[in-house]
Subunit: 401 residues, 2 copies
């Protein structure tokens, strides 16, 4: 993986276009009866045709054996070493609900929890209260006043909420209040150096006041906070690649991640057809397009093999709209694998397809996990894909004389 | 290769079991007549069956083109970057004879050598004296008294011995006394900073006294010492992977290496059948098992192609005993290649086979160097195997949110 600073030195602006289509959770595992993965089961004539004309391979988002979260999975595809650029849990939770974090905001992930008469935690998830109840309680907590600091309490799902502090001199280097176990009292937020004392005091003040507000709301009668973090310092894609990048996505998390690296965001709620229409509309104004397809991952997480197959087939049948634009470079891949049989993200490498006039094509004749093993790209870190895309778009000059 | 600190953060304890069977020096080169390597020549129905059900690849213990010693080869398989965690030659020599090094001991590799009347080295190996003679001379040198420091002089083989100093304030940062050439006098041990002067003085005192003791023992009338080192700081496998690991091996070197990373040692002198019996006996109490098969390497080192083939066939026929235990993850590989035609370790990548319920199998139908080229694991650093084993045992949680 080449350092970003080196890429910055050799990247150049050109009119060529790169489209990166990310099918979330694309990689899978074989169905026990057929021996075929979701991608291998799906009827994908356009993807197969493109694989035949392009060059294929398998990517490891983080490292072999490592199951990536959505954050590291996407940062790697955007060309950033996910072991070097990390996103705090609090920031990711805020991005996930589309909250507009500012540079010095401190964000944490919150849980409603249950405590007994002695204050000991009996359930870290407050019996998984409904999202409606969560929303109601967040509204109550939002009314808490803190000295010189503004707080935001935003519902996520069930017992989960996002907590954000905004004000002067806030720091993220404070400890979690979530002890990650029951039978103990929630921790106080502790500061790690004197400059972070103010933040720890503010958080503890908020928690103390929350206790009063929530007293009558058993089972959600206390809160736990963890993963205090600020927006990470990530150089923009414009800075590194000299691209004018656009993101076309529906889910807040992915729009948030794209925004982190400086993409212009286009919202598309209703699937691949709408996304490709937007791609068409904004095509003239940008030179890099990240198009995100969420539902393959959701189907995988639900353990629904057939639904994942259908999502992939929908992408395939929409593909001509993308091909008609004749982008110089097309990348089709995923941010990680989500095999239906595992009902979650997994460590398995992800199929990747790169098409350009200048790719050296291989003998792969279909886009599938097993065919990609013998692809010309081999098995490589996901963060190598961006330099390959840039090269194929003739946007990288020579390294060294 | 992901940093160990990251693995430590995401590893979890679970009841699943990992068996890593290391056939020392497994990789080979083709016989000129048949065009087949040792592994390809061997009749290995069980290994081939497992390769068909699992996923294969090729590993580089250190880096492509680099021939590893047993130390780096094994550290890589245990998941440690062999370029970061290095074991001094002196320590390895002591481990190789099963000497129980303590934390602050300083160990060196020793050679008996021949010097002429002027003290100039004429033979760095003292005409390769017999191991019996070596043992006799080591006993004599063991009687040398040093001020406040205890010394151990232990025979290894022919002219080679292990030298260990034990006492307060010893340091390993002193220079070799072996000039690695003839026609010169042996060097004095030099200290690199004032805190290591005491050790250098002690070593030089020992050498001076040895000269007197050995005067009448031509051709072994002098000693050379090199590779002064202490036990390296290596976090244990329990610390990093939360495993309770066991090593089943016969040779001291491998038991020593396994002990370095915190494995419980089970001694097995009489080959694979005994090793698998021990595996069966201790199976309930551990969750990771390193089983070491030495004789493939010995046969390779002796240039005995046929004997190496037979060792591999013996392992294959014993395999059902391992399979009957139904470990969740099986890894079969080597710590390096030892082609009989090269009569020594080599740089060629080593075939690796991983089997688990969750591996994404490939089209490999036999366990061989040539088949592994198209395996689903691709070609990867050996240190990536442990994270893959952990992932397949479902012992790693997600990296990043």
């Amino acid at each position: 993986m080449i350092p970003l600073e080196e890429i910055r030195q050799i990247s150049v602006v050109s009119p060529s276009k790169i489209v990166m289509l990310v099918i979330d959770g694309l990689g899978g595992l074989p169905d026990v009866k057929t021996g075929k993965t979701e991608l291998e089961t799906a009827r994908t004539p356009y993807l197969d045709q493109l694989a035949k004309k392009g060059v294929c391979g398998l990517i490891d988002p983080v490292s072999p054996g490592i199951t990536p979260g959505s954050g590291p999975g996407h940062l790697a595809l955007f060309g950033y070493d996910p072991l070097k650029f990390t996103i705090g849990r609090g920031v990711l939770e805020a991005l996930g609900i589309g909250f507009e974090l500012k540079k010095n905001d401190v964000a944490a992930r919150g849980n409603f929890c249950t405590v007994d008469g002695k204050g000991l935690i009996t359930d870290r998830r407050a019996g998984r209260i409904t999202t409606d109840k969560c929303t109601e309680l967040c509204t109550l907590l939002s009314r808490i006043k803190l000295q010189g600091v503004k707080s935001f309490v935003l519902p996520v799902k069930e017992h989960r909420f996002s907590f954000v502090l905004r004000g002067e001199g806030l720091a993220a280097e404070i400890s979690d209040t979530d002890p990650q176990k029951t039978g103990v009292v929630p921790y106080l937020a502790k500061y790690t150096k004197i400059t972070t004392k103010h933040t720890a005091d503010t958080v503890n003040d908020f928690i103390n006041k929350s206790k009063g507000v929530l007293a009558k709301h058993h089972p959600a009668n206390m809160i736990l906070l963890r993963g205090f973090s600020k927006l990470p310092h990530i150089p923009s894609m414009n800075d590194i690649y000299k691209l004018t990048p656009a993101a076309i996505a529906g889910y807040p998390m992915y729009k948030g991640l794209a925004k982190l690296v400086g993409m212009k965001i286009f919202n598309a709620d209703s699937g691949i057809q709408e996304e490709l229409k937007i791609l068409n509309d904004c095509y003239a104004k940008h030179d890099f397009f990240y198009v995100h397809v969420k539902h393959a991952d959701s189907a995988g997480e639900d353990g629904d093999f057939e639904r994942k197959v259908k999502v992939i087939e929908q992408v395939d049948s929409a593909l001509p709209k993308l091909l008609n634009l004749k982008p110089e470079v097309i990348i089709i891949t995923g941010d990680h694998s989500t095999p239906a049989s595992l009902k979650g993200h997994s460590w398995h490498p992800v199929p990747v397809l790169l098409y350009s006039q200048w790719c050296r094509h291989d003998k792969v004749k279909e886009f599938s996990e097993s065919a990609c093993i013998s692809g010309g790209l081999g098995r490589l870190p996901a963060a190598d894909i961006m330099p390959l895309a840039m090269a194929n778009a003739l946007k990288l000059t020579k390294f060294g004389a």
